[in-house]
Amino acid sequence: MQLIHLAWVDYTVLIAYVAFVLGIGWMLARYMKTSSDFLTSARSIPTWVTGLAFISANLGALELVGMAASGAKYGIATAHFYWVGAIPAMIFLAVFMMPFYYGSKARSVPEYLQMRFNKPVMGLNAVAFAVMTVFASGISMNALAKLLNQLLGWNYHVALFICSGVVLIYVLKGGLTSAIYTEVLQFFMIVLGFAPVVYLGLKDVGGWHAMNHSLQGVATDPSALYLKGAGITYAADAWTSAWKPVLAGPANNPMGVDWFAIVFGLGFVLSFGYWCTNFLVVQRAMAAKNMAAARNTPLVAAVPKMLFPFLVIVPGMIAVALTSLPDKNYRIPPPILSQEVYAQAVDAVKSASPADSAAGVKAVGDALGKPVSAEKIASLIAANAKDKLSDEQIEKGIYNSIAENDYDGVILSLVKKYCPPGLLGLALTALLASFMSGMAGNVTAFNTVWTYNLYQAFFVPGKSDDHYFWMGKFITVVGIGLSIACAYFARQYNNCMDIIQLVFGFVNAPLFATFLLGMFWKRTTSIGAFLGLFGGIGASALFHAVTIAHGNAPGVKGGYIHVLGEYPSEMAQNFWLAAFAFTVCFTLTLVISLATRRTKTDDELKGLVYSLTPKIKSDNLPFFLQPGVVGILLLIACVILNIIFW
């Protein structure tokens, strides 16, 4: 029922892509002469390339899949993740923070912390980041191999090893530059691969206004499409308006969040925490060829980022609209079930009698192990009793009556619906490309942090550059191996992955407070930074242990010590956790810094702290091209978008 069959033209597109990324790696190999070439691209990349790579490193396949899923679940409000949760932070990074990252000549984000504070603070960040990035890589590869297995029927292990092998080859040959160049290629593939799907989908639902009209109908009774439980209803604009439902309170929007959580939790803490401190993206800006290019990188990236909601979120909204239109013969996919399970359910339908449909419904539900729509199964049984339906028809009827949605399947179901062979190959290759470049991005960030900030800083200092170049390559191989191991771990222990990602959330939430105080307040001391960060991580864990989201049982989801607070949704809990951790870290760092003596003089902090760094003069740039001005223009554009979709 769910397998896609690829034609020769689809395979040709795929093979062309693989050939090109390998070719790029090969051609770059001759330029890899030093560890700096390999690990940091020796600061040689033009702005438009670093800008697109910056956004591409962030736009992994999981985001593509996840944003379509969220678009279906929450409608246009999902755009908050972009217009509130990304653009302001990217502008801040470009205008205020890149001068320190780039000007300090730090080779990584943890290295900035070493220069500003000391090795222990750097070590804390470096170790946490290294571990997180390897796991992120593994999660990505597991999702890819699983997808290829479920969708195309490829063997999981073969898919995993071949894709990892391709990444290994081109990163080993061309280093960070290879990763950056293929990220740019991936960017165009995603835009060009998915734009036709969005175009055809919008045409199919009758256009943008017709889609919104359908969504307004859905908002008043979301349970009909299994979007929410029975009895829940929203105002008509719940899926089509980004702010009004949020301002109306957690009970009135599908996300279950309040405006403060969105603005402060997501828009400030989580957003700035990610965009301003995550080395995966910042590394791309640090590879730029000069300071102006480095500052412009996030600004260049902000333009497509602002427009991406129309590419990645709208498919989810299209899917909901299509499901609500009965003549479109489409529904948001149900959870994937094996052919055997479907066969058993088909048998249950065939052996059920229309007179006792309740028993028949129960039998089908038991066979599937999922909730089903009693009406639809009953009418299916009746239809089968009247004119004997084929197995295929019964299967389709069962498929349409499963009362649960697998939102992660939305984007692929739309690709299946609208892409003939040819275009199908392009869309699938785009998806594959983004998974693979997710691994490449993580591995290139990992190998830099390991080689310079762990190996060179703590274990084996003072060796020749050749030695570190060799180590960079060696750890790339190790990194890919570890990613594969993490992929298997993720596959085996699904629940453990939730715990691991939870821990990473704890580590990331307070991080921005440390950077903020470090960059903008010369009085911040190393002890203050270290203890503040530690305290912030502890505060995250504590907050999580005493709060729970509505509908969750205490345990992995939180509240296992005692439930002191309940939130309307996991997202709300997450945003408030971030806000709390940030505040704790900020306060602790501030107080402890005031109570301890500074270990660095003003001179040592020159170029690392705002008040001690001469302002960058952009005399030769026309007024409109100066980062500050461009930043303001982008912010205005962002505000306009928010107003349009208010």
Partner: protein, 71 residues
Amino acid sequence: MGLDIRWPIGLMFTLIGVLLTGYGAVNRAGSTIGIDGQEININLIWGIVLLVFGVLMLLGAMCGKKTPPAA
């Protein structure tokens, strides 16, 4: 860094554009999607879009070659 990325990008999309355009032109039935009563040969249309994009990239790369990069 030595390799202007516009070359591989331009080349790849030109090739894929030619492939999709050709397939769309030859296999019309298999490349057409029926939407709202309209028949859209999406392979042909999008193939041409990709081809144009690829060629523009290649032109950009050729222009880049003529002006030597600033030291």
